[in-house]
Amino acid sequence: MHCHECNGDKFERRNVELTTRVGEHTVIDRSVVRPVCAKCGEFTVSAETLEKVELRATLVAFTEAPRVTGAMLRFARKTLDMTQAELAERIGTTFESVSRWEREERQMEPWVPLAVLGLVREKLMPPPTGVELKKAG
């Protein structure tokens, strides 16, 4: 493995600090361990890891911020990798509503952040394996 910046070949595995902006908030994640170039300090993060970092940031921001703003909703939708229409379909609304909420042209009803948070949690924590759903009877 060679560093894409300086072509160095010595790396040290350590925790890196990743800062994510979720609307008006900043979330710092120190849980990711990456090989860091010993010569120039450069490291990379895969899109797969970044997805988890973005989802965790959304979870923290939605849970801890005093209110969920349009910019936060927009970040959450992008983190879920959905268009406005796709998110609308998942939470049972129209893309016009999602668009207005994101632009703060309309206030979000209290269920909206909860529904989005549900989708974020689902992506971070997939259903357990070895557990089967059957129709009762």
Binding site: H4, E42, F43, T44, V45, S46, A47, L50, E51, E54
Partner: protein, 86 residues
């Protein structure tokens, strides 16, 4: 690698969200409110690739989630495509 091949590889990496981001790119993403999705869309919708020497290419013509133009610089490495700056 020809520019058509570079563009095709970039589009594939973007579509399947299979790329890496340099620490510099991550810094810029935070500043400009750009997410993994935006980079993926920009790569998959790009229309031109210009060689910048070595394994480095400038990928342009793509747009982000907002439909805004988003060009990126990528490096092809042994472990895949690294987005370095934009």
């Amino acid at each position: 690698m020809t520019s058509a091949e570079a563009l095709r590889e970039a589009a594939r990496a973007g579509r399947y969200r299979q790329f890496e981001l340099s620490s510099h790119a991550l810094q810029r993403m935070k500043q400009r409110n750009v997410t993994r999705r935006d980079i993926g869309l920009a790569l998959s919708s790009a229309t031109s690739a210009a060689h910048e020497g070595g394994n480095k290419w400038r990928i342009d013509g793509g747009t982000d989630d907002d439909g805004e133009p988003l060009g990126v610089v990528i490096v092809f490495t042994g472990r895949g495509l690294v987005v370095t700056v934009f």
